[in-house]
Symmetry: C2
C-alpha cells in the first residue's frame, strides 16, 4: 500500500478522516506507523496529498488530511480482455488498475471456460476490491470502469465499432502479424485473448470492427504478463 485511499464515508470533517479494519491493520503492522507520522493519502475519485496521524489505536486511526495534488493521468486506452481464469482475473484487475487503464471490458471468447463466469470474483464488490488494491499500489485514486460482456458476437458487432472509433484498434495475437507498435501518441483499443488465443472467427469479427492483429514475438506469455508488456510497449 503506497497510498492510503480514503472514501467519502471515512471523513468525519472536511479535513479529517477516521479509519478502521484492513487499512488500520496495514498501518499498524506493515507501515508500523505512529501518531504524528505523515502518510501519503488520496480520496477515492479525487485528489491526493498528505495525512497526519492524530490518533492511532487498536480501534481506529484519525488523520488530518490535506488534498492538493491530482492523481496521475490514465492511459488513453480501452482494454478488451477475454475473461481469464478466476485466480488470474484477480491479479489482472490489480495490474490493469495499477497501470492506469481507465476502461476494461471482460469479454467472452470460445476458449473461455464456461465455469469462469461463475466465479465470485466477478461480483462487483470483489472486482472493486482488486481495483482498489491496484490504486493503493500505484498511487492513483480513480477506479477504472469494468464492463462485463458475456456475449462476444453482439458486443463485437454492435458496440465495439463505436467504442473503437477514432482509436488505434489492435488485437494482441501471436502469429505472422506486424509487431505491436511502440510509444504511440493516440488512443488505443486493445483486445487480448484467452489462454490458447482468439479463434480465427473471433479475429475476423474483431478485424471487421476495426482492430488489426499485432504480435509481441514468438514467446507465449501469460495473460497478466501480456497485458503489462503490451501496455508498456504502447505508452
Amino acid at each position: 500500500m503506497n497510498l492510503l485511499l480514503l472514501e467519502e464515508a471515512d471523513f468525519v470533517a472536511p479535513d479529517r478522516a477516521r479509519l478502521s479494519g484492513r487499512r488500520l491493520k496495514h498501518m499498524l503492522e506493515v507501515h508500523r506507523a505512529e501518531s504524528g507520522d505523515s502518510l501519503r493519502v488520496g480520496k477515492l475519485g479525487g485528489l491526493m496529498g498528505q495525512g497526519q496521524l492524530l490518533h492511532l489505536g487498536s480501534e481506529y486511526a484519525e488523520l488530518s488530511v490535506t488534498l492538493d495534488q491530482p492523481p496521475p493521468a490514465k492511459l488513453p486506452i480501452t482494454l478488451l480482455l477475454a475473461l481469464p481464469r478466476p485466480k488470474m482475473l484477480r491479479r489482472v484487475l490489480q495490474t490493469v488498475s495499477s497501470m492506469g487503464v481507465p476502461r476494461l471490458v471482460l469479454l467472452n471468447s470460445y476458449r473461455v471456460e464456461k465455469s469462469f463466469w461463475q466465479t465470485p470474483f466477478l461480483e462487483p464488490d470483489a472486482i472493486r476490491e482488486q481495483l482498489v488494491l491496484g490504486l493503493e499500489q500505484s498511487r492513483d485514486t480513480v477506479l477504472p470502469e469494468v464492463i462485463i460482456e458475456k456475449r462476444f458476437k453482439p458486443f463485437v458487432e454492435d458496440r465495439l465499432p463505436e467504442l473503437a472509433s477514432g482509436t488505434l484498434g489492435l488485437i494482441g495475437h501471436p502469429g505472422d502479424y506486424p509487431a505491436c507498435p511502440r510509444a504511440v501518441n493516440e488512443p488505443v483499443t486493445l483486445a487480448i485473448g484467452p489462454e490458447g488465443g482468439w479463434i480465427p472467427y473471433e479475429v475476423d469479427l474483431l478485424s471487421n470492427a476495426g482492430l488489426k492483429p499485432v504480435q509481441l514475438g514468438e514467446r507465449i506469455l501469460r495473460v497478466e504478463t501480456a497485458v503489462t508488456a503490451l501496455l508498456a510497449r504502447l505508452y
Copy 2:
C-alpha cells in the same frame, strides 16, 4: 503448458521419450490428449519440435520425437533483482524465464526483509521448478542462470563492474530521472529494487558500478509488473 519440455532422463531412445507424473497429468487433464496426437515438445537445453503420442495411459506416455527447431533467442540482458518476498519470488522466476532473460542475480538490499532469505523457494530445485514453468509457458528450452548474492556491497563493488562492462547499465528507480529508454539495440544490465525501492546509498554504489537511474513514470508498480514493463520497453 505450451511446450512439453523433455529432459535427458525422459529419453528411452534417441527419438523416443517416456513421461509420467506432472506432465502426464497435464496432458491427460488439461490438453485432454489422445494417442496419435501431435504435441509441441522441446528438449531442455536443446532443440524444439513435435512429439507424436504413441501411447497414453494412466501410468505413462510415450512419444516419438522430432527435434529440428532452435529455441527463441534470449534477451541480451542481465537482470539484478532485490530478493522479492517468497510468493512474489516464485512468480518473478516464471516471468523472467518466460520473457527470455538469460541471467538473473537475486541480490540483497537494505529493504529486503532478512526472513526472505530463509524461504524454501530459494532452494535450487524450487527455483528450477519455477523456471521450467516459465519455459513451458513461453516455449523455450534454455534455463536462465540464477545467481544468489546475499551481500550487496561486495557484489556491487567487486563483481558488478565487470558484469556490466560493455552493457547499458540501468537502475529502475522511481523519481526525477530520465525515462527508461525504448527499443535499445545493445546489451543491458538492469537493476530493479525491492518494494520501497533502493536506498540512496545503494543507488550510489550501483551508479559507481556504471549503472544509471531511469524511471517508468509516477506509478509505483509491483516488482513482477515492473520487471515485465521494463523488459517490454527495452526490447
